[in-house]
Symmetry: C3
């Protein structure tokens, strides 16, 4: 491969050094060889050391680094090395295999499936709607009344659209509160393996555009999550809770039902959120408390 | 649909207003139209406002509300609106599709399966016993030595009857402690998606009648849970721990092994329970401590 | 069955009593009958009582117990009763069914599978490498670029080798950081049901020899776990974090990304680990703090 063919992906870069730009693999800076494409994270304190000890033939680094290219080395200096590296490597490794619907999938005859959709082995899909270019990993179960947008990526063994958890007592007998709503998953959402998203009771559970959900997360009935949020592994968002846009939920966070988490906020690792959190704030702890404003 | 046909489900109600009782859908009070059946939760502080702004044709509400029916509106006043709404909607939406065993399920030839049992696609069932009217969702795995009662509901991708987690060291080698017990799931238990219930080591892991377990819960080996408990998502009940009857385990609770949680108690959101909890108490925190008596 | 045939499994034991050593089943000390093999845990405070009330025909107990065998009872006194009981029962209950690859499994044509490997129903396996005598439970999904050793046991509905969770922002758009690494699972590792292990971004995620992972655990991208560790249910190990050898991670622990947990350490139940933990220490709490040295 020749990195020079991929530089069109970048808007802004300078090249330094005499390396020919050919590479065979993509490696971390410490494992790279003369035949590797690599990058250096400008936030690492040991970056000078990493550079000095690296044999990488091609390195994407920050435009202000004072590294000077070794013999046969090519430096690509950019404003945002992590972004530039991601864009280039994603282009190189783009999956060009055609979309497919695996024959072992069980799909409701009235499901409506868009163009170029991939449905993995052993998926079980109810009467649902799927947009274009969406990928559903193997062994996932998606029940009636779910709408999935375009460019959505769902990993394996996911459960979407199951009945929410809600009971009402008739003397001492637990009667199920009805769950006849649905789930709406907007465009470009990602959903991790073994994650569960329950259907709404009367209305819908909604995951906003470009929100990215990790593995083993539980999203309860009637939750409304805005755009561009991040919900990391083993977190729970309780029933009817709302989350704004651009908010980051760290791993193992539990958020109680019926609270409101603002936009552009951050909930710290392992926090237990028992009340509403305003916009632009960082909260953490058990119970979670205001920690500081978010810049 | 005509609500008047469903009023036989209720023991105690009064009708107010001149609405004809016809409806096309079931909606939350704020989304309802003239053609909707809805309800108002008597605990909401904004209930007067909700009522005033709602266009719902039929509203189930508390018998002491002073709402007065608008033109073409029908109010159904009852002692417990949430219960009345649940009972009526469950009757309306009752799934009348016949039970089925999906042909893609893999079932041990010696499994004993009761009447009107539904087994979803890609289930893998060992030498187990299933009562009548039980539903097992798609992609679930239930291993040998599991007994499941009547009217049990198991959601998708559940793991029941796997070996428990227990090792004994032989010098520095971890030898598996034997797990040759089983799992007993009593009548009317509900089990959420991606939940795991391990088999007992020598005795059984037991889930008592009408206990309702949410998604992504881990019940370890030899746990004994009583009747009518609620175990919410992402909680763990450690090995050999016992829980009494009517106890509520909030989301993301971790309960250590070999403790005793009493009856009619409540463990708060995200609590870490390191010792036994008596009957009728509310505990919370990390580590969980007594908070107050439960009324 | 006759226990005398199994005593060759033990290096060191003395027999007391006149029992004939015949048994029909294996039970806990309180449930055992004259026809049962059982054991008494030397750490139980009520062990004298348990012994006195037990009807067990055969009891494995500590060599220093002063129990004296009843009529028709056989006591097997050993240095480590839990280990002796495990070794004997594992030998008795050893699964002698042949390895099989279930016909419903979907396996990449270039996957390389060792000898005597069992692959359960509905597994979906990419271009992976599996050693000898390994068992993969039903409904598990293992993606390209995963290497699995010998004598590995993987339970049901596991997700191994999926893309890690990492995004980089391009203005307000979340671009996926590339995940082109793999997962390496060494010999004798156990992995619980519904557990997720993500592939590395550039390098590999590595699970060291004989490490035992429980159900519903999340191991993020590029994590390196040493040998002989225990990671209990509902815990998360954050991206690029390393764990040494012989370390115990209790249930519901969250460990942030990019920290270093030493060897022979222990993290307590429900702890939230926000910084590195040295060797030989016990940490607990939210946030986790040093509690005491480990003996």
């Amino acid at each position: 491969m020749n990195i020079k063919k991929n530089l069109t992906e970048l808007q802004n870069y300078t090249l330094e050094g005499e390396g020919n730009g050919l590479f065979d693999d993509i490696k971390s800076i410490s494992e790279a060889t003369q035949k590797s494409l690599s990058w250096i994270n400008p936030e690492r304190k040991d970056k000078e050391e990493l550079f000095k000890n690296s044999k990488a033939g091609i390195i994407i680094c920050h435009q202000e680094e004072r590294f000077s290219a070794g013999r046969n080395q090519l430096l690509i200096k950019v404003p945002d090395p992590k972004l530039a590296f991601s864009v280039i490597v994603n282009a190189i490794t783009a999956n060009n295999t055609s979309a497919f619907i695996h024959p072992s999938a069980t799909i409701h005859p009235e499901a409506k499936i868009g163009k170029s959709v991939t449905i993995g082995a052993n998926c079980v899909l109810g009467k649902i709607l799927i947009g274009n270019n969406t990928i559903i990993g193997p062994n996932s179960v998606i029940e009636d009344n779910t709408q999935i947008g375009n460019q959505v990526v769902i990993k394996s063994s996911v459960a979407i659209g199951g009945d929410g958890y809600g009971y009402v007592k008739d003397n001492n007998v637990q009667i199920k509160f009805p769950h006849i709503g649905g789930v709406i998953i907007k465009d470009e959402v990602h959903i991790g393996s073994n994650t569960c998203i329950d259907r709404g009771s009367l209305g819908n559970t909604v995951i906003g555009q470009s929100t990215k959900i990790d593995n083993l997360v539980h999203i309860a009935h009637n939750v409304q999550i805005g755009e561009n949020c991040n919900i990391i592994a083993l977190s729970i968002v309780g029933g009817s809770t709302t989350i704004g846009d651009n908010t980051w939920i760290s791993p193992s966070v539990s958020i109680r039902d019926a609270v409101k988490i603002g936009s552009n906020s951050l909930i710290g690792l392992g926090s237990v959120v028992t009340k509403s959190v305003p916009d632009n704030e960082i909260w953490m702890g058990n119970p979670a408390k205001f920690f500081k404003n978010k810049g």
